[in-house]
């Protein structure tokens, strides 16, 4: 456990000056910031529709969730999984990392956990910023109806679901980046996978949930469908979320075996 902890701290120390780490913070800041600015400067246009509080929150959070879930999230996950491993490939430091008196599994698990943590931070900030900028807009433009509905539950459920549904992509990309040191292979496969996921997810192919890349799209879709009935009652653990978690667990174990069988060059 101590090995895991110090490896995790070291992962943070190493990457705290890299883009992968800052992207987790900057990405939600930029996207939520831009949407908030749009709502602020175009408030007249939004107010014209006279949305009730709940619908306004759906429109507002949907703007971030839409771009995020469909496109940016898979690419961020790919890039982040690549960066966390590339820091060792690029500097040729796998050999030093694995010649430290630390349990091999802890080193690997800490790296994986760090990638999961970055994804969590990124999505958590999305939820937090959506929530706080909504109330900020309310203060700036009192005519908004953000005050009429508290979106805390629905936002945490949605982003929590999105986080779980992304674990599958993260695990696939993590292993690809662990095996290959170059940028193109994991990115190329991820790109094709994402497009495939988007298509199969949106046309509603029966087995689309088995492709990890379509799980975030499906997860958001299934929540949106349920939303109409009773907004807060949609299930978090739907089929595609379970599939994503299963991918995560299985590939995490597979990755460790790949690593132990592989000789460190």
């Amino acid at each position: 456990m101590r090995s895991f902890y110090i490896s995790f701290v070291s992962e943070f120390y190493k990457s705290r000056k890299t883009l992968a780490f800052w992207a987790a913070i900057v990405l939600p800041l930029i996207i939520c910031g831009l949407i908030a600015l749009g709502y602020y400067y175009d408030s007249a246009k939004v107010l014209k529709y006279n949305y009730p509080g709940m619908i306004l929150w759906f429109k507002y959070s949907g703007a971030a969730l839409g771009v995020m879930g469909m496109l940016i999230l898979p690419f961020y996950v790919m890039f982040m999984a690549f960066s966390v491993n590339n820091i060792e490939h690029k500097n040729d430091t796998w050999k030093t990392l694995f010649s430290q008196p630390l349990n091999k599994f802890s080193i690997y698990a800490a790296k994986y956990a760090y990638a999961v943590a970055l994804l969590f931070i990124c999505l958590f900030l999305f939820a937090l910023l959506t929530y706080s900028t909504g109330y900020l807009l309310q203060m700036l433009v009192p005519k908004f109806t953000f005050n009429d509905y508290n979106p805390a539950i629905i936002l945490s459920k949605l982003y929590g679901k999105l986080f779980l549904a992304s674990l599958g992509i993260l695990s696939v990309q993590f292993i690809l980046s662990l095996i290959w040191s170059d940028f193109l292979k994991p990115m190329g496969i991820g790109f094709v996978g994402t497009i495939m996921g988007m298509i199969t997810g949106s046309v509603g192919w029966k087995y689309a949930y088995l492709i990890p890349y379509s799980d975030p799209t499906l997860a958001l879709g299934s929540s949106a469908a349920a939303k109409k009935a009773n907004p807060e009652s949609f299930a978090v653990f739907t089929q595609e979320v379970w599939v994503s978690i299963a991918y995560g667990v299985i590939l995490f174990i597979v990755g460790y075996f790949i690593l132990t069988k592989r000789n460190i060059k």
Partner: protein, 303 residues
Amino acid sequence: MNTSFAIETVGLNYRFGSQTVVKDLSLQVPKGSIYGFLGPNGAGKTTTIKILLNLLQSSSDKVFIFGKELNSNRTACLKQMGSLVEQPAIYAHLTGKENLINRCILLGINQRKVAEMLALVGLTSAANKKAGKYSLGMKQRLGIALALIADPELLLLDEPTNGLDPNGIIEIRNLMIELAGKHGKTILVSSHLLAEIERTATHVGIINKGELLFQGKINELHDLSKPVIKIEVDDSAAALNILSTTGAEIIDMDEGLVKIAYTGKAEMGKYNSLLVNNGVTVYAIYTEKKDLEHLFLDITSKN
């Protein structure tokens, strides 16, 4: 296992696919020694070092570190080892200091050691510069600082003077002598140049094509290169006849040149007069001692 050895390998083999890289290697590195691990490029030195660090998998009961079997005591063994393998592995986007701090985090040691290490390898003034911007020599020194920071009992240094200027080479040499002499550390240092470690090593192992060709104390290696007397004569057959009656040890004979073992100055004079008195013209008579570099080349070119 014999615990007077810091490193012991027993008939170690290693192959990359069908190519045997290490063949029946039995290293014995005594505690407190500076063990020069010599061999030409591609002889299997780095592979051996990687096996010693458990980066490459060896079969069990082949490698022992301070008497402990490596595979079943990986963490305990690695705790006693510091290493520098090939190019120093450092994070280019972190400064020299941050690289050392990161290592402290991983090893769970106090970060106060960082300043001490930077001073030791002369990088104090470059501590806050990105390691990626370091010169090769500075990277090498940072690599050595990283290997030393945990104060390990055993140091594995793979060509540590690579890329260093003469001054840097001397510094590393003195550092190794100090570490082994004053602090009782064991150092295995690999090199493809014998001259480089001749002055520091107490023990030498010579490897070529994965096979250990010589292992022993450095003076045993010196003893291998006994001086010879070379005599240039007009008639080598006659000279050989005459010399063999005196019981001189003939080493080699060529057209106009006879080589015999050197036993002392008096004998050398005696051989000379004997030859002249028996009608053989002696053009030249001199001793020659093979330097270690040639000896090394001789040893490694044999297999």
